[in-house]
Every structure is written in structure tokens, then in C-alpha cells.
């Protein structure tokens, strides 16, 4: 028996869950959705939109916006609302590294102006250049 569940299998289970919902069988629908949820763990490369929202600490509507704008990579079938866990982890890592650099501090606007000011010629350089 294979120990890997393919994406196609997950989509079949999603379709079945929708069919159960359409048929007015909420218990079966919930059971199938639970199975899909369990099988689409990060180790398998995908997260549900709910899981992505939890991991990022943002709302579901924010996750939907991220999917629409392509900031999160969608699973092959849009209706399943699966996103690539790698794209979620990228956002988590970027936030962590930006925050950590911020904790170190940033130059003030005045310091930035100083850093970007053209080098001043010293008296010695002036003599040497003349």
C-alpha cells in the first residue's frame, strides 16, 4: 500500500465532501473534510487556507487576498483552497528576518542624510590634489 497520498486523491476527497454537502449529509461532509485537512499537512507541501492563516497570524480574508494577488502559491485546483506551504514559510521567514534587523535599530533620517552625503575633501586631499 502506498504511503503517499497524491494531490489527485485529495481533490477527489474534496469533491466527495462537496457532494456530501449538496446531498444534505453534513456528517459525511465533515468527516471527509477532516481527512483532507489531516492529509494536507505541511510535510506534504500544502496547507489549507485556514492553516495558512494560522501560520501567518492573519485573517482568512487576508489569506484570500494573498492568493488572489499571487503572494501565496495556489494548489493546482483553485476550488480546494490549498496553498504551497513553501510560499507561506517564505512570508514567515521574511517577517522574522525583517523584525530582527529592526530590533538592531535603524539609522535616523539625519544619519541617513549623513551616510549619503558626498565625501568631503579634506585639507590634506586639497593640497595633494593641487
Amino acid at each position: 500500500m502506498p504511503d503517499v497520498v497524491t494531490r489527485a486523491t485529495l481533490y477527489v476527497l474534496e469533491d466527495l465532501a462537496r457532494e456530501m454537502a449538496d446531498a444534505g449529509r453534513p456528517v459525511e461532509e465533515a468527516a471527509l473534510r477532516e481527512v483532507v485537512h489531516a492529509l494536507s499537512l505541511p510535510a506534504r507541501g500544502f496547507l489549507t487556507a485556514d492553516q495558512a492563516a494560522d501560520r501567518l497570524g492573519v485573517s482568512m480574508s487576508t489569506v484570500k487576498g494573498l492568493i488572489e494577488r499571487g503572494a501565496l502559491t495556489e494548489g493546482p485546483k483553485a476550488s480546494c483552497q490549498l496553498v504551497a506551504s513553501e510560499s507561506v514559510e517564505h512570508l514567515v521567514c521574511l517577517r522574522a528576518s525583517l523584525m530582527e534587523l529592526d530590533r538592531e535599530g535603524n539609522p535616523t533620517p539625519e544619519e541617513i542624510q549623513e551616510l549619503y552625503s558626498p565625501p568631503q575633501r579634506t585639507a590634506d586631499q586639497g593640497v595633494a590634489a593641487s
Binding site: 501567518l56 497570524g57 492573519v58 485573517s59 487576508t62 487576498g65 494573498l66 494577488r69 499571487g70 503572494a71 517564505h90 512570508l91 514567515v92 521567514c93 521574511l94 517577517r95 522574522a96 528576518s97 525583517l98 523584525m99 530582527e100 534587523l101 529592526d102 530590533r103 538592531e104 535599530g105 535603524n106 539609522p107 533620517p109 544619519e111 541617513i112 542624510q113 551616510l115 549619503y116 552625503s117 558626498p118
Partner: protein, 187 residues
């Protein structure tokens, strides 16, 4: 403070000058790109200038704090680790262009030749907007070489006006910080 941009500005293809990646707006500006509101382009020149100026700032701060050599080395080590992590993560978020492939003609309005590669980056990226903190050399609120030049606050205000929900989404994303164990000691 520069003029607010016209409503017609796309704010889609954006170059962030190293001066804004160095300052306090880095978080929001980078988050906006990561969350897909606009695409940010940079170049090897911007990366080099950013790292050089950040390192120079660390050294200047150590001098003003009267640090000894051992403390200075510790700060450089810590900074290197943090900068490397950010550069690696930003490299996956921002798009790189080759500034050297663009023409230098029509750049004479920039007095400092060290600023030319910044404008060349904008040209290579076909950027609609250049965001910079260098108000001495770049005329904020004006167009040059087909690119609108804005300060970071003006750019964010324009982006928040153009993309409803962007400000809330960026705030939500940045507020949901990770576990304290990832925090680093301050300098």
C-alpha cells in the same frame, strides 16, 4: 514633504533606493511587496550600497558608543548574521535587474554620479515609481526619465489609497510576530 502623487500613477513597478531599505520604512515597504500589492525591483548597485551603508552605520554608532575592538567585532558579527538573513529573504521577494545594461544619457540632472545607477535601475525595471529618502539629489514628487520619485511616506500613503485594505493587511502581517526565541539581543 513632497506633493501627493497623481491618481493615475500605477504604483506597480517600484524601485526602492537603498536609503529607504536602510531606514525605518523598510518593514512596511518590504511587507507591501511580499503581500503582492506591488512589485519591487533592485540591482547589484542597490544591494552593495545598502550593505555598505548599514555596515558604516554600525561602525559609526560603535565609535559614538566608545566601544572597544572586541565589542565592535561582536556588533559586526551580529549585524552580518541579521543582514545576511534579510538579504536572503528579500532576494526571494524582490526582483533583480541589470542596471548596467541601460543608457546613461539623460541622467545629467543627477549631480552625483553615484546616483546614476539608482536611476538606471529604475530604467532597467521600467519602474513607474522610485522611492528614495535622498531628497537632496532626487526631486521628490516629480517625474524624471518617466519615473515618479517619491519619499517613503508619500509612497505608502499613495499605495494605501490605491489598494484598499493594504494598510490593514500589512499591519496584521507585521503584528503577528514569531516566538520570542527568535528575537535577537539589541546592540
Amino acid at each position: 514633504m513632497s506633493r501627493p502623487p497623481d491618481r493615475g500613477v500605477a504604483l506597480e513597478r517600484v524601485v526602492l533606493d537603498s536609503s529607504v531599505l536602510l531606514g525605518g520604512y523598510r518593514l512596511q515597504l518590504s511587507a507591501g511587496a511580499a503581500l503582492g500589492y506591488y512589485t519591487v525591483y533592485w540591482s547589484s548597485w542597490i544591494v552593495a550600497e545598502l550593505v555598505r551603508n548599514r555596515t558604516e552605520w554600525i561602525a559609526l554608532r560603535a565609535v559614538s558608543d566608545r566601544c572597544d575592538r572586541a565589542e565592535l567585532r561582536r556588533r559586526f558579527r551580529e549585524s552580518r548574521r541579521r543582514v545576511n538573513a534579510v538579504m536572503d529573504d528579500l532576494a526571494r521577494t524582490l526582483r533583480s535587474v541589470d542596471y548596467a545594461q541601460t543608457s546613461r544619457k539623460d541622467l545629467n540632472w543627477l549631480r552625483d554620479r553615484d546616483d546614476w545607477p539608482i536611476m538606471q535601475t529604475a530604467l532597467a525595471a521600467r519602474a513607474d515609481t522610485l522611492v528614495t529618502d535622498n531628497s537632496r539629489d532626487f526631486p521628490l514628487g516629480e517625474q524624471r526619465n518617466g519615473t515618479l520619485i517619491l519619499g517613503p511616506a508619500e509612497f505608502l500613503a499613495a499605495a494605501y489609497a490605491k489598494f484598499p485594505g493594504a494598510e490593514a493587511a500589512i499591519r496584521q502581517y507585521l503584528q503577528a510576530t514569531d516566538a520570542p526565541s527568535r528575537a535577537a539581543p539589541s546592540l
